[in-house]
């Protein structure tokens, strides 16, 4: 049933065919370029896309219900993809990624060159996610990579290059203004005599480039494709950036009159990343560090800090901290497909992946007391073997029966080790010689080994009657080694049905209606993301070191309470959907509604010590719900020889509600606190106390703002201003703590998401614009709270506007809670395609120019409203001194095919 409701994003960055769609491929009569409404899939061609930093970028704004975080912070982006919101409190919110049948993850997906990807299929409906059983609840992204096809030899090159320029900064006081303002307030400053704009000092013009070379060819019975790619993204922040190299080979061989097909694929990627050690600290320091300090090294080769400003440091010194990562990924898979006759088909599949990761961190002595070097390496080996037997039978031209059986085994072994050294004799060695450190602390060295095995069985059957009534059923059984002894197996059934109304007699003659289909489904799926291996066992691990019997001795201990009943989280999902198209697919409209009920949700409960040894216990007691409406709309407004105009957009309304976290565990009633902070502010003057902003409160969506209310500013005794705080509970006293004078005042996650693409073609020229938007959520402008506080002077620089408002207060109230609505022009691309003649050697040639992140339309007063509004972590909904200066990327791209 998958293809009836899935949304496929087809990529054509270097598609040989799609390079010049108007010429190279005559349009199919039923299709519309750009928004191709073939059956129930939305195909978005990305030849006209702007610069892509990695494959995850492709998903941004393309399909309803899928969100991808901002791509300014490459590290954060790797974990930011969400399908239909959040599904868990403890982890397991990332969708399952399946690359060519092999379970994978977002990190690996990001290493695949976009041009090597044929399609993304986002599975989010009940029946689809249930097919992935215990791992499907957070949605599934199926990725199909490009492989060869029959035809003569061809070779293609696609490349782009460009630069990134930052042009929006925070208006902090310049050195002279800082001197004047502090003097006026009678404050002594440390004046080093310079005039440094730290925000600009740490930046450069970023440089980006992608190169991709693919070749392929073959005969009717055997064909191949191979490709190599290189990508580089030098961030606007000095020293930081990522590089990625990939190689991929696929071979297909048919045998026995095509009754037997073998597919062999090899893929390898090596990425080198230079990350910012602490994003918040860097941008906080760049904004607030003393502007009279010179932007140069001191006589001993380091950078002078400013000890009084203990929360920040010399921004250039922070750039000297190295946080490097090198990741290697290798995958090979082999499949054999046999047509056994009688409608039976057998597929045997085996895959093996090897991942190696090495992290190298260096903290110079002038940035961390006595200096520190960390080296760590992790490896994982994953293998998968599956056998699938499927049967298809059609009769009387109107009936069709399909059935399949799947058995699958998967094993994963992950290992790692790391070591840390302290007391460096010199900063000159970086992380390249661990002998430079005098101290190797016990806790700085360790290694681990972990195994996770899974066995799955699945049966699926679907029946279509009279070409229009379909019903499908699947049941999947999953067993995992990480589930506790008593809960090894889980069963995940689903049912779905669809009705192709267009084929009914009473609609068949309706000319203007091209297609109309109704579908519905229900399914149960699971989520294993919250459980790690061995969580249900009481294991002894080294926990410390002491001296016993005169010698140092390592201590073994436990680290947590074990819950022998631990099991996966489960989700019931039901959905209904309508797919329509009009006037030969000139207009396409789809609508889906889903409701999901998550139960056995994991939460780390506070339990009584005694009798428990530790005060936290992970248990399956929570309940949560998600519901949403998703619309897709596409119109081919103009279709002529010279002109095309296509407009597509998708709109998502989503709502989440944490229902309950209470329940009984072994007779003990476990309950979560009424108010649990998710995100807080930090920085100078914001340590502990009532600085929590975003909360998890049962009865509300995950991530609501729960804040004291301020009506505005009031003068204090020194002639400055403070935030007024309302006595919300009317008890005559102000209580800023949880349960006191606070109220829920908005949510951090958007209620409505918009993605829209407009493309225009005039002869060989084309223009494509992507707009993304988010609405109905709020952002806490913690950056303003900090930088508008004159009390931060003289140690921390402040916003120029602070001198007008004269606020001297850091009380966290809703004063700085703002609407987060925005529309972002994600990219604009202008291209020109050479009209190649069939007799030419040159099959396609295209040039294009793109601007990424052209503009953002918003009422939000901070640097940018594009912050983390999705991922449940300590940054959710809070703009707190960590936003990158706003930048645009200008790039030029070239595509050639011979």
């Amino acid at each position: 049933m998958k293809r009836y409701t899935s949304v496929i994003v087809q990529l054509a960055v270097v598609t040989l065919i799609a390079v010049s769609p108007a010429q190279a491929q005559p349009p199919e009569p039923e299709s519309v370029q750009g928004i191709d409404a073939v059956k129930d899939t939305l195909r978005v061609e990305t030849a006209k896309r702007g610069y892509l930093s990695n494959a995850l970028d492709v998903l941004s704004g393309q399909t309803a219900g899928v969100t991808v975080g901002s791509n300014t912070n490459p590290e954060a982006m790797l974990s930011s993809v969400r399908v239909r919101g959040n599904h868990s409190l403890t982890g397991g919110n990332e969708p399952l990624v399946i690359v060519d049948g092999m379970s994978s993850d977002l990190r690996t997906l990001a290493t695949i060159f976009p041009g090597d990807i044929e399609s993304f299929t986002i599975l989010k409906d009940a029946a689809q996610t249930a097919q992935y059983g215990a791992r499907g609840a957070a949605g599934v992204i199926e990725v199909r990579t490009r492989r060869g096809s029959t035809g003569k030899f061809s070779i293609s090159y696609a490349g782009d290059a460009g630069f990134t320029h930052a042009d929006k900064f925070l208006p902090m006081l310049s050195a002279d203004e800082y001197r004047r303002v502090t003097a006026a307030r009678g404050l002594h400053i440390a004046d080093e005599g310079a005039d440094t704009d730290w925000q600009r000092v740490i930046l450069r013009n970023g440089f980006v480039q992608n190169h991709h070379l693919a070749l392929g060819g073959g005969t009717e019975t055997s064909y191949y494709r191979g490709s190599v790619s290189f990508s580089q993204n030098n961030s606007i922040v000095k020293e930081m950036g990522t590089r990625n190299f990939t190689a991929k080979v696929d071979v297909t061989q048919h045998a026995l009159n095509k009754r037997l097909t073998f597919d062999l694929g090899l893929f390898g990627a090596i990425g080198r990343n230079q990350y910012i050690n602490n994003v918040q600290k860097l941008f906080y320091s760049a904004a607030a560090f003393n502007p009279t300090f010179p932007a140069e090294r001191n006589s001993s080769g380091g950078y002078d800090g400013y000890a009084d400003a203990s929360q920040i440091n010399n921004p250039l010194g922070l750039l000297d901290i190295q946080k490097h990562n090198e990741a290697m990924h290798f995958n090979t898979h082999l499949s054999m497909q046999a047509d056994l006759g009688l409608g039976l088909n057998l597929r045997a599949y085996g895959s093996y992946s090897y991942d190696a990761d090495e992290d190298s961190h260096f903290y110079p002595t002038y940035m961390e007391s006595t200096g520190k070097v960390y080296r760590g390496a992790g490896k994982s080996n994953v293998w998968l073997a599956s056998v699938q037997l499927s049967y298809a039978h059609a009769w009387a031209d109107r009936h069709r029966l399909e059935a399949s059986l799947l058995a699958e085994m998967q094993g994963r072994v992950s290992t790692g080790f790391h070591t840390t050294i302290n007391r460096l004799a010199s900063d000159a060695f970086g992380y390249d010689n661990l002998s430079i450190g005098a101290l190797r602390l016990w806790e700085g060295t360790g290694s681990n080994w972990e195994k996770q095995n899974m066995v799955s069985l699945m049966a699926a059957v679907s029946y279509t009657a009279l070409n229009r009534y379909s019903i499908g059923m699947t049941v999947r059984g999953d067993a995992s080694s990480v589930a506790s002894k008593n809960h090894k197996w889980g069963f995940f059934p689903s049912v779905s049905a669809s009705w192709d109304m267009k084929r009914e007699a009473w609609l068949q003659d309706t000319e203007w209606l091209t297609g109309m289909k109704l579908n519905a489904g229900w399914g149960l799926s699971g989520n294993m993301g919250g459980i790690a291996a061995y969580h249900s066992l009481m294991l002894m691990v080294p926990t410390g070191i002491i001296q016993a019997e005169g010698l140092p001795d390592v201590v073994l201990g436990l680290t947590r309470n074990a819950n022998p009943d631990l099991t996966w989280e489960k989700t019931h999902t039901a959905n209904v959907g309508l797919e329509t198209s009009f006037w030969h697919n000139r207009i396409v409209f789809t609508a889906d509604y889903y409701y999901s009920y998550i139960f056995d949700m994991l939460y780390d409960y506070t339990v009584s010590v005694p009798p428990f040894l530790y005060d936290k216990l992970l248990a399956n007691l929570g309940k949560m719900q998600n519901q949403g409406l998703e619309f897709g709309f596409g119109i081919a407004a103009v279709q002529s020889k010279d002109w095309d105009l296509n407009i597509g957009f998708n709109l998502t309304w989503q709502q989440n509600k944490l229902l309950s976290l209470n329940g009984y565990y072994k007779g003990e009633y476990l309950t979560a606190p009424d108010y649990t902070p998710i995100a807080s502010l930090n920085g100078a003057g914001l340590h502990g106390g009532n600085t929590d902003v975003v909360y998890q409160i049962p009865g509300y969506p995950l991530g609501v703002f729960y804040l004291p209310h301020s009506e505005g500013l009031a003068p204090d005794e020194n002639g400055d201003f403070v935030y007024t705080v309302e006595d919300l509970n009317g008890d005559g006293a102000i209580d800023l703590s949880d349960g006191g004078d606070r109220r829920v005042c908005g949510q951090a996650t958007p209620k409505v998401l918009l993605g829209s693409n407009i493309s225009v073609r005039y002869k060989q020229f084309d223009l494509s614009v992507q707009l993304n938007g988010a609405f109905g959520h709020k952002i806490y402008n913690g950056t303003a709270l900090s930088y508008m506080n004159l009390g931060s002077l003289p140690y921390y620089n402040v916003d120029r506007r602070a001198t007008d408002k004269r606020i001297n207060d850091l009380t966290v109230t809703d004063y700085w809670l703002e609407n987060g609505d925005y529309v972002n022009i994600d990219y604009v691309t202008i291209g020109w395609s050479l009209p190649c003649k069939p007799e030419w050697k040159l099959r396609a040639f295209r040039l294009s120019l793109s601007v990424n992140n052209l503009a953002t339309i918003t009422g939000y007063s901070g640097l940018t409203p594009i912050i983390n509004s999705t991922v449940l972590d300590s940054t959710l909904g809070v703009d707190d001194k960590r936003s990158y200066p706003v930048s645009r990327t200008y790039s030029f791209s070239l595509q050639i095919q011979l």
């Binding site: 002594h188 440390a190 000890a307 009084d308 203990s310 046999a338 056994l340 045997a348 007391s369 599956s386 056998v387 037997l389 058995a407 699958e408 302290n422 101290l439 602390l441 016990w442 806790e443 290694s447 681990n448 195994k451 095995n453 066995v455 291996a533 061995y534 066992l537 009481m538 294991l539 002894m540 691990v541 926990t543 410390g544 070191i545 002491i546 001296q547 016993a548 005169g550 001795d553 073994l556 339990v607 009584s608 005694p610 009798p611 428990f612 040894l613 005060d615 072994k666 003990e668 309950t671 100078a684 003057g685 340590h687 502990g688 106390g689 600085t691 020194n718 009390g791 931060s792 850091l810």
Partner: protein, 543 residues
């Protein structure tokens, strides 16, 4: 067709291979963690796991854990709820939601974080002791009868140490001696009942403990040996009037002379018991004496200090235990000049300055070694701040809230006492100086106090401490009579920054100025404990 049949066979074989993966495939196979039965194979490994491992809990690297050295745990309750020291609010620094002010002004609530931390830490430690008892019983066959007796004695003495802190801090607490118990069966015992339990446990354990130095490198380094247990019993007996009092909110308290405690084979009253175990410490073959100078106890390498009885072993190259007390006190630039980090926090109260006679002709000689005050000098030269000013700790400018004060960053005399260790790392939190928990000067002062309370003279013990050898060179060392009042102040002068002052204030009746505030002598049962165990009843006054 035959081919196809053969293919079916292949399918069947493949399927059955997948379907019968055997139980092993789905069984957890841990490598980097191990179940206890794999680790406990010999008497040594059992000893290591069940007894030695527990010592990892005395000090800590984690906030709220450890008897001393980290933030927001027992030491902070004992110190900042007394009038000995304060962490003033310095603008945004140390505001921390009013945490430190609540301790200083005694306005804490049951949801106070530090109150909860100490409870969880102590009961976690007790739980680990109970688990050790279970292990020693389960694997008893590995041990000789004597080993079993020794090991269980040491574990129960450690558990008694935890309970001692619990009755001191919380009064009525549950006595739990096994892991195998349902929360529904955990109820509080009266304070006197807990006291009796602790005393009995220590009495039973004492003969099986080693008579050895605990503060010295070697087999018993950091361990709970006989002198440590004797010291602990002195503390119990000295505070028996308080800790045997089941209603500390009324004005009455039991009389130490009538509280009878079993000491080995004898029945002694509380004050006699203090002296009895004072003698035990003195007669230990370990040989305790006062160091020639107090600062020897806190020297960089203090393992050989003959005065120290129980310490948290420290060594930056080996242990994880943190010592954050200095780190959080010193001004940023002062600490930076020493090669440390600083958090510009804790300092002496005005009351402490008075007691030490700061900046008067009678200034106690221990002031200079206990505090940094006035101009800060590094290698003799005044320390210049980045704004050009000289760093001067304005000892007398300390106020609970310094926001808006010109001395916001510099007010208050800062902690010293512990020697500067140039080898310290992690901002000086990892260092060589062992953290001193129990020392002999306290033994003498406890004896002096017990004798005076019995109506005898404690002058000899009192003078030993007050006029230790080094004192003869100090003019400020004016002899005092060993009255209760003078003993109280002598304890303050001698034991400043050592986490005893709250206990002393309570015992000397100086903790609450108003009788109706007597309930503050114990902290509330933490909110989180009440929420997770509905059997527990809140302490009087906090309901």
């Amino acid at each position: 067709m035959k081919d196809i049949l053969n293919q079916y066979k292949i399918i069947l074989v493949l399927c059955s291979l997948l379907l019968v993966p055997g139980c092993g495939f789905l069984t957890e196979d841990p490598h980097s963690g191990q179940p206890e039965q794999k680790v406990i194979t010999t008497a040594e490994s059992l000893h290591q796991l069940a007894v030695i491992s527990l010592y990892d809990n005395i000090g800590s690297a984690e906030e709220g854990k450890g008897l001393q050295g980290t933030y927001r745990g027992i030491y902070d309750l004992q110190t900042f709820a007394s009038d000995e020291a304060i962490i003033p609010v310095r603008g945004g620094d140390w505001l921390d939601g009013g945490l430190w002010m609540d301790l200083y002004f005694h306005t804490w609530q049951p949801d106070n974080e530090v109150v909860a931390n100490a409870w969880i830490y102590l009961y976690q430690f007790i739980g680990l002791c109970n688990r050790s008892m279970d292990l020693l019983n389960t694997y008893r066959s590995l041990l000789s009868a004597w080993e079993y007796a020794e090991y269980t004695a040491e574990v129960s003495a450690l558990r008694a140490l935890c309970y001692t802190y619990l009755i001191d801090l919380y009064g009525r607490v549950p006595i739990v001696t096994t892991l195998d118990i349902n929360v529904l069966d955990i109820v509080q015992a009266e304070r006197s009942e807990v006291f009796r339990f602790i005393w009995n446990e220590l009495q039973q354990a004492y003969p099986y403990l080693f008579d050895a130095r605990s503060n010295k490198h070697g087999e018993y380094y950091g361990r709970l040996t006989q002198p440590v247990a004797a010291f602990l019993m002195m503390k119990l007996a000295l505070n028996a009037e308080i800790w045997m009092d089941d209603d500390w909110t009324d004005q009455a308290r039991p009389d130490g002379r009538t509280i009878m405690l079993k000491c080995d084979e004898r029945e002694l009253n509380a004050w006699q018991a203090v002296c009895y175990y004072g003698d035990a410490v003195r007669s230990s073959i370990a040989g305790y004496a006062l160091c020639s100078s107090q600062s020897d106890c806190f020297a960089v390498f203090n393992e050989d200090a003959v005065e120290n009885i129980f310490t948290i072993p420290m060594d930056p190259a080996v242990y994880r235990n943190r010592f954050q007390n200095l780190f959080r006190s010193l001004h940023y630039q002062h600490a930076a000049a020493l090669g440390y980090g600083g958090e510009n926090g804790s300092c002496a109260t005005l009351r402490t300055l008075d007691v030490f006679g700061y900046d008067t002709p009678e200034e106690d000689y221990r002031f200079a070694s206990s505090f940094y005050a006035g101009v800060v000098r590094i290698n003799g030269a005044p320390l210049i701040l980045s704004n050009g000013d000289v760093l001067i700790y304005q000892a007398r400018e300390v106020r609970p809230v310094l926001t808006g004060s010109p001395y916001i960053a510099t007010a208050g005399a800062r902690m010293q006492k512990y020697a500067f260790d140039p080898a310290g790392i992690f901002d000086g939190q990892l260092r060589n100086t062992d953290i001193v928990l129990f020392r002999y000067a306290d033994v003498l002062l406890m004896e002096a106090e017990a004798k005076v309370r019995m109506g005898q003279s404690g002058q000899e013990e009192f003078d030993q401490v007050r006029s230790r050898e080094a004192c003869s060179f100090h003019l400020e060392c004016i002899p005092r009579e060993a009255t209760l009042e003078n003993i109280y102040y002598e304890r303050w002068l001698e034991l400043m920054w050592e986490g005893w002052h709250r206990q002393d204030m309570i015992r000397f009746g100086k903790y609450s100025s108003l009788p109706e505030d007597n309930y503050l002598q114990v902290f509330p049962i933490p909110q989180v404990a009440l929420q997770t165990n509905t059997n527990l009843r809140q302490n009087k006054g906090y309901e």
